[in-house]
């Protein structure tokens, strides 16, 4: 049935260490949530962000998707955490596709991650 797929070393590392999967552990009154999904069998992603003193204090995700998608979500969380809310963050789809060596047919799915990140940025700024 399925042919052997190959993943980059980084995707494999991220997939094995989805440190940011799950729920926020810090409580705050500055919590933001962004939710995106593709078609039923595509992918789903929820980002949870906790902002503290103008900085992203914590970021978590829940996701249903392929390894590239999960790895992409993890990357975005790792990179946005600790960043000031007014700092420009542009982890666009191009960047993720390239960094994670994502097959081109998964572009639509990876765009979801960009969408979610944009939603979060718009909300926190």
């Amino acid at each position: 049935m399925q042919e052997s797929r190959s993943y980059s070393e980084e995707v494999l590392e991220l997939f094995s260490n989805l440190d940011h999967a799950g729920d926020l552990t810090i409580d705050s009154n500055q919590i933001f949530v962004a939710e995106v999904h593709e078609s039923e069998e595509g992918a789903r992603l929820v980002l949870f962000v906790c902002v503290n003193k103008g900085t992203i204090a914590q970021m978590r995700f829940r996701a249903w998707g392929c390894p590239h998608f999960l790895a992409g979500a993890e990357v975005v969380c790792r990179e946005m955490e600790g960043v000031r809310v007014d700092a420009p963050y542009d982890a666009g789809v191009q960047y993720l596709m390239k960094r994670l060596d994502v097959p081109v047919q998964k572009t639509g799915k990876m765009l979801l991650i960009e969408d979610a990140a944009q939603q979060i940025i718009a909300a926190i700024q």
């Binding site: 997939f15 392929c66 390894p67």
Partner: protein, 380 residues
Amino acid sequence: MDYAATTPADPRVIEAMNKCCGIGGAFANSASMHKLGRQAADVVNHARGQLGYLLNTSSDRLIWTSGATESNNLAIRGAAHARAHRGKHLITMLTEHKAVIDTFKALEKDGFDITWLAPRKDGILVIDDLAEVLRADTQLVSIMHVNNETGVVQDICAIGELCRENDVLFHCDAAQSVGKLEIDLQEIQVDLLSLTAHKFYGPQGIGALYISDQPRVGIFPITYGGGQEKSLRPGTLPVHQIAGLGSAAEIASAELRDNMQHVQSMRDRLWTGISDIPEILRNGDSESGYAGILNVSVSDVEGESLILGMDPVCVASGSACNSKDNDPSHVLRALGCSSIEAQAAIRFSFGRLTTPADIDFAIKQYRKTVEHLRSISPAS
């Protein structure tokens, strides 16, 4: 855990192949080439005999091909075109292998009229459903023996009987059953039967097509040139490959029953180890299916991540084998699975070398991964 995709070649098979290469390599110019030519012909005939014995048929009914894909193409297109003057109605199932489905789709474009039968929810074809769609102009029925995704076994005895009564050819893709289940071509009324060596511990890239002669079945070739294989399949015969297939057939004849028992006990062990996972679903007939395959679906888990999570246990996903990403299996869809169920389906398949320890490790990895992925899913 992916024996249904390809099996490792048996060491005895490799030895048989090396003997041929050895002849060519070591002795090519030191002895009579005439004798070498005869030796090669002897190897090919011996292998035909070995395969004939496994299937209980005369060896001269067997045509060598490059695998079941080619055998399916040759049988279906060859028979459809040879009988086109009599009628253009053909019947197959939605759960066939791509090599059958795509061949029929191509015939459909060429003006043939195809009836696509759906199985019951357990994957089995109801004979009456077949009887109902037979027409005066029906020329060919193609139904596989063991399904490669679910292990579902069709009743090819009954199908063969029905076809024979109605003077319709019956082709059977037996790629997943030859060497694994007993097939007696004196008993089954099949006209054309496809097989491939690498599914039963032989080499990749060699297969065969059985063509019945009682009644005589005429098919057209699909490739041309030279007179090899009764002009049905031209090209220099790959002697070492044929020797490998023959050897695999001989081993299968001797060890078939033991292997059946072995895979049965492996499957039972696996199912016992995972059947208590919440919302787990067994795809395909679980009673009489081929015991070398177990296909299960779980909810709330994405298939590709499930497979990577189980690494190093190798299993096949419910996504189709073609390059389109996450195309849910047409077989599972035909069994009524939703596309979300289908994409999370996993095919475990076992063979001779699978041990209880392998099974236990697979159980552990599967449980762990399902739990993990469910724990991070937004739905949970």
